[in-house]
Subunit: 198 residues, 2 copies
């Protein structure tokens, strides 16, 4: 079922449909600059109709960031991330992170712009940092297992890897020349092959 099909038709949005339109607005105008009034206009709903589905703009942000974070954290519990040697598990997680970015592009885009201005944003950043630490641990494990070069700092390597992956949100557009799988393969070639011990 696509996200469009989940909506129950205009103008009767369910929470999911309201979230989708809200995230697009947050990404376009910035979260702070987007009011519930602007969302109501964009949805063709009254403000009270929106409040029937969500208690506040803050809750919309929380739901949206949760969507991105649940998906990223889900990658860490997949078989490919928990079994096999560390370098392969790292490759699985990087591929998964690219897939989540492409599949949930507006939600991950929003997550990447969060600066920690509110409690909701700080909680999201804490979850994001925990995810990054899990990846950094995999880099350390792969290095200690002799699969990755030992002369680079694992923290720096993790940051550079996610710098590359996250930057995809700046230019990737669905239906473009590269699908998620090809893009993930490109990232692994550019980013990970150089790290492997030859």
């Amino acid at each position: 079922m696509t996200e469009t099909e989940i909506r129950r038709g205009r103008p009767g949005y369910d929470q999911r449909g309201i979230l989708e339109v809200s995230v697009a607005a947050f990404n376009e105008h910035g979260y702070d600059a987007t009011s519930i009034g602007m969302l109501a206009e964009r949805l063709g709903l009254s403000k009270s109709a929106i409040y029937h589905h969500v208690s506040s703009k803050d809750e919309l942000l929380e739901l949206a960031l949760g969507e991105a974070l649940d998906s990223l954290e889900g990658v860490l519990t997949e078989d490919g991330a928990t079994t096999g040697d560390a370098a392969d598990r790292l490759a699985h997680v990087l591929r998964g992170a690219v897939r989540v970015l492409v599949d949930k592009l507006p939600y991950v885009t929003l997550l990447l712009r969060v600066r920690g201005n509110t409690e909701v944003e700080r909680a999201a950043l804490a979850r994001r940092r925990a995810f990054d630490r899990a990846v950094a641990s995999l880099v350390v494990e792969a290095r200690d297992a002799g699969s990755l070069r030992a002369d680079l700092d694992p923290g720096i390597v993790s940051r550079l890897l996610f710098g590359m992956i996250n930057s995809i949100a700046e230019w990737y557009r669905p239906g473009g020349q590269e699908d998620a799988d090809q893009l993930a393969a490109d990232v692994l070639t550019v980013a990970l092959d150089g790290l492997r011990v030859k």
Copy 2:
């Protein structure tokens, strides 16, 4: 001479000192949200004292973006970028881009946040795109010379390389554990070694 020494002492700022403080404010609060009044307060100057040095906030932005772009474009004209084989020239330019990012961190940070909302921003984006195209051409040249893998799209590769490099602005702080040269070496190892034909 450091940027601090160029200033002629407080509260008598020259244009350079005003620019430095303004760029810090733009990065902290966002360009749109920063008024000349806020800059005046931060500088301990009157608004008219600022207007003695620059005609407008827009001119401050233009000067700041020019600082970053002049440095980046300067890398392309260095000997290492114009002589030798294409893969080495590409490596030189990537190293140079990391060095500029570290040396001119606030200015490059501002450049990376520009969205094209004004004429000044659009002109800066056009110069930035020309720089990116020059790098993409080097990737094509290096690939055609047989130095880089032929199975990846040079446009995607360039974007991933700059995604990695630009992301450094998100976390690098001067005086941290890595200096510019070490960081550039790390980027080349992570980003370029995987692309080289073995």
